[in-house]
Amino acid sequence: MGGALGSRDGAVSSLLLSGIVKRYGTQAVVDGLDFSIRSGEFVSLLGPSGCGKTTLLRIIAGLIACDAGRVVVGDTDVTKLPAHRRNIGVVFQSYALFPHLTVGENIAFGLKAHGVQGTELAAGVSQALKAVQLSALADRPISALSGGQQQRVAVARAIATRPRLILLDEPLSALDRKLRETMQIELRQMLRDAGMTAIFVTHDQEEALVMSDRIAVMNHGRIEQFDAPDTIYARPSTPFALNFVGLSSQWHGEVSRVSDTLLTVQTDCGTIDAPLAALPDATPGARVLVGVRPEMIEIKHLETSLAPLDAVPRNRLAVTVGETVFLGSRRLVYFQSQQVGANAVMAEVATNQSVATAPGDQLQLSWPVGHTLVYPMSASH
């Protein structure tokens, strides 16, 4: 995107939120939230519905006022500015395209509102249309477009004014699965090419993992973890993050021994070792939650599992096969478990791996101790 709009403050900006609070009645929807993203970053706000992510988005856009805290874009405090003076683009979940205007007129709307006219206006519109590959549809009415095309018009409309920041509120949720997967890649590419700082709200963990530079996992109006996707997946910092992103086997247990590098947890299904680094302040007797990602687990038939001679220490548990779910390239094997209140225990096995699993089979699970995740459990659990 070029110089046609260089006259306005079109510089892509970083965002800083500090101490944001928003209450509805006595309920704090956003609860003292601090957050900052770098210029040009693509960040997802990931959380279940009602976690406050859309409210936060609307506070950043200026569509609702926060009760406390500051919103700083670049080096401008915009907390008190109304939405129309912030120059923050928004792509709405329902797109909110203007039905009485054509595709081109929709895109021209923001430019006109900023006082752009004549050839500059035409150039801005065609540039935005080119960015989303819809140049041929400029004169179509909105009603003549497919869902995916409407989505792209919404993006084009939002980037046409060269906003300092672009916010996307579950923009792909109205599309069918196939199109959604294509659009995830396309959308990220479009925004990268436009050099936008983007915040993407979603409840879809896969979408967040696919699209983001960093993911902020939100729960109860707070950010539980803010990290790169691979870190979020491999080292979720809270049980909520563990549960919300990806699958995991989980056991409740009690710390029985703490050594220099390891802690040992006694569970109903046997003892499980974990690196002490996963929970440095663990003390014997503490109630903990132990988890492991299913693809870390290896399964073997009991009779073939001989003495452990592994290079890396592994946890081993004897289990009985329950259900097997076929997922194409992988199988997900669930095991029978007597545990109450914890997640089902499961392993993910490549389909071409030849361990046959029938319900009732006795198997041995093992996984590297280093991949064991441990979380303290509050008394209420």
């Binding site: 856009a61 200026g62 569509l63 109304p82 939405a83 129309h84 003076r85 912030r86 120059n87 923050i88 683009g89 928004v90 709405f92 329902s94 797109y95 909110a96 395209l97 203007f98 039905p99 009485h100 709307f109 923001g110 509102a113 900023h114 009415p141 909105i142 009603s143 477009l145 409407q150 409309r157 939002a158 004014t161």
Partner: protein, 288 residues
């Protein structure tokens, strides 16, 4: 596909028969008789007399002007008051919306005569409005609100307001409030948003409401009769006088035809306008 669609359409067409038949009998037929009698001389032959008489009397021009002027003022005021009301109603919580609905609909069940008579009590020199104005010291002498255009307009706006609010409400309710938010995030001021988004999207409701109110205001008889009396002539009042007192069927019919033409012109024009707007606004269902 085409044949099933066609037969479905023709079956649906039967549903229109009761309404169409009723209208034919009680509306189209009398209308034809009316039209005929406006061209009928006393001897029973064809004549342009009624129209030449009507058009040659400059007083009639004043009457038509008065009638149109009042109708336009009433329509304009109804729009001015009704538009924000309709949007407030569309955007408020359901219980409040229900209350507003009742406040709007219930007065319709009170007859126009009762309402007009009530207004004569409220507006008269020693009525509550003048009482309040004088006791607050805003005016020294009673404001003349009865037997002039002011009172007529006040009462007519009150009677016709629901017919402006309801069509606009119906359209306003369908306008996604994200439209206004989207406009704001694109840098549009509230005024710009109103002019370029809200107003065009609500136009179909505005046009329908204005057509309703205008055609009722241009033909109202009871309200002016009670609030102004004979001093101020409107077309419907003259028509009534021609029929009831002067027993001049031709003159009455002629005026009825003139009034009808005005009303038909307004309604047809506004319908065409709505059509054109809706052709562009079809997307609402998809985008909203």
């Amino acid at each position: 596909m085409a044949s099933t669609a066609h037969s479905a359409t023709s079956r649906v067409a039967w549903l229109a028969i009761p309404g169409a038949g009723y209208l034919l009998l009680v509306f189209a037929l009398p209308l034809a008789l009316l039209l005929a009698s406006s061209f009928q001389s006393e001897q029973g032959g064809f004549t342009w007399q009624g129209y030449t008489n009507f058009l040659s009397d400059p007083f009639n021009a004043t009457v038509v002007w008065n009638t149109l002027k009042i109708a336009f003022i009433v329509t304009g005021l109804c729009l001015l008051i009704g538009y924000p009301t309709a949007f407030a109603m569309a955007r408020t919580s359901l219980p409040v919306q229900g209350g507003m609905f009742l406040a709007l609909i219930l007065p319709l069940s009170v007859g126009v005569i009762v309402k007009s008579f009530a207004w004569t009590i409220i507006l008269r020199s020693n009525g509550p409005i003048n009482h309040i104005l004088m006791s607050l010291g805003i005016v020294d002498d009673p404001v003349k609100l009865l037997f002039n255009e002011r009172g007529l307009v006040i009462a007519a706006v009150h009677v016709f307001l629901p017919f402006m609010v309801l069509p606009i409400f119906t359209v306003a309710r369908q306008i996604d409030s994200r439209m206004q938010e989207a406009a704001a995030t694109l840098g549009a001021t509230p005024v710009h948003t109103f002019l370029k988004v809200t107003w065009p999207l609500s136009l179909p409701g505005v046009v329908t409401g204005c057509a309703f109110v205008f055609s009722m205001a241009v033909s109202m008889y009871v309200i002016p009769a009670l609030l102004i009396g004979d001093r101020y002539q409107t077309l419907p009042a003259m028509m009534a006088r021609a029929y009831l007192f002067m027993r001049d069927r031709q003159a009455g019919s002629t005026m009825a035809v003139v009034l009808l033409l005005i009303a038909v012109f307004i309604v047809v024009a506004s319908t065409l306008l709505t059509r054109r707007l809706q052709a562009r606004t079809q997307a609402q269902g998809v985008a909203a």
